[in-house]
Amino acid sequence: MTVRLILRSKMFEVTAGMTVRHSLEKAGVPLESVLAIRAGEMLTEDEILHDGEEIKLVAVVSGG
């Protein structure tokens, strides 16, 4: 019952049934720093993640 979060070369596994917000907290990824994408669809932070899903996290913070 896991969900995989992929952020660039990193991967986090979280328990299915959590919201995007909760899963990011568990993974230690600040919500403000990413956008969550599931099968090409952008997710709001209240979206529930289901078993076996792979969520792409797009980093939004740039600097230099």
Partner: protein, 316 residues
């Protein structure tokens, strides 16, 4: 979460505005708000020629897309910095800009720094103490010079950049932590030309969170470079952004309030023009004609001179 306008499933939520929108309404909302920002700060009109500095990233390409869709006369400028970092960073970012311009039939100016000046950014940085640790300062100096030069030479009325609210808030926090009066006086949505040799600059995305411009690029289907500049890791701007994002998570709207309150305070006379004596004492560089704070060659021309003499010594 539902879209506030149509009740369909929301694609993006903005807690600081208490506003969630579906894809269709978000792609309407952001350009509408950009137009409001352009008017509010009197950035430019549809009669003026605009040059958008584009890096291949989410902010600058979103800005170019929005201005184009709003009907402004806007061309692009890409500056190739010769950065590889194992990911062909400059080549890839240029490719993104060329794809974007090609798909929309827009004009893209390209200035390749290694071709033009004989050295890439890292090599130019090596020629000066400014770049002793990181080339970011020399990169910024070079980009500002080239952007201004191309805008002047090609007769553009205004130069626009994709700076977002996170960029502005991080800069503001940094300048405040160090109490740098000149920078605090000058920061804003518009930087007037002020004197011959300078082109007016504007930042139409300055009121949007970085997350909002990224959401726009993704929802619009703009192909942009996801990779960060190889030199950006550990920079001060990212450090300040992370701090601000922690505050934003605890209290949505913190970043927006910080920046907007600063602009209001500045307009109400918080800073005296005496705080920025350099602005009153600008000179024109005898080599390139651009404005500089001290008599004689500007910092960029001195950098190029030094780099060229180093190159000649290496060849001897």
């Amino acid at each position: 979460m539902k879209c506030r306008k149509c009740g369909e499933k929301a694609a993006f939520n903005m807690p600081h505005h208490k506003l969630a929108l579906c894809r269709e309404h978000y792609l309407e909302w952001l350009p509408e708000q950009t137009e409001r920002t352009i008017h509010k700060y009197q950035m430019f009109t549809r009669r003026e020629r605009i040059l958008a500095a584009v890096s291949g990233g989410k902010d600058s390409l979103s800005l170019w897309d929005i201005l184009w869709r709003l009907g402004y006369s806007v061309d692009g400028l890409y500056i190739g910095l010769g950065i590889d970092g194992g990911i062909q960073y400059s080549d890839e970012s240029r490719r993104m800009c060329e794809i974007f311009a090609g798909e929309r039939g827009l004009k893209l100016h390209v200035v390749d720094i290694p071709q033009t000046y004989g050295r890439n950014i890292a090599q130019l940085a090596d020629a000066t103490l400014r770049g002793a640790k990181k080339p970011c300062a020399v990169c910024g100096l070079t980009k500002r010079h080239v952007m201004n030069r191309i805008a002047r030479e090609a007769g553009y009325d205004v130069l626009v950049t994709g700076h977002n609210l996170d960029d502005e808030a991080a800069t503001l926090l940094s300048n405040t932590m160090n109490w740098i009066p000149g920078y605090l006086v000058r920061q804003g949505p518009v930087l007037e030309a002020g004197r011959p040799g300078l082109v007016r600059k504007a930042k139409p995305l300055c009121r949007f969170y970085e997350r909002e411009t990224a959401a726009y690029a993704l929802l619009r289907g703009i192909e942009y470079i996801y990779d960060e500049c190889p030199y950006a890791e550990g920079t001060k701007s990212i450090y300040f952004k992370e701090i601000l994002n922690k505050m934003e998570a605890d209290k949505p709207g913190t970043k927006l309030n910080f920046y907007i309150s600063y602009l209001t305070a500045k307009n109400n006379g918080l800073f005296s023009s005496q705080a920025d004596p350099e602005l009153e004492m600008l000179h024109n560089c005898p080599t390139c004609g651009q404005a500089t704070t001290a008599p004689g060659e500007c910092t960029f021309c001195r950098l190029i001179s030094k780099s060229s003499s180093n190159l000649e010594n290496e060849r001897c």
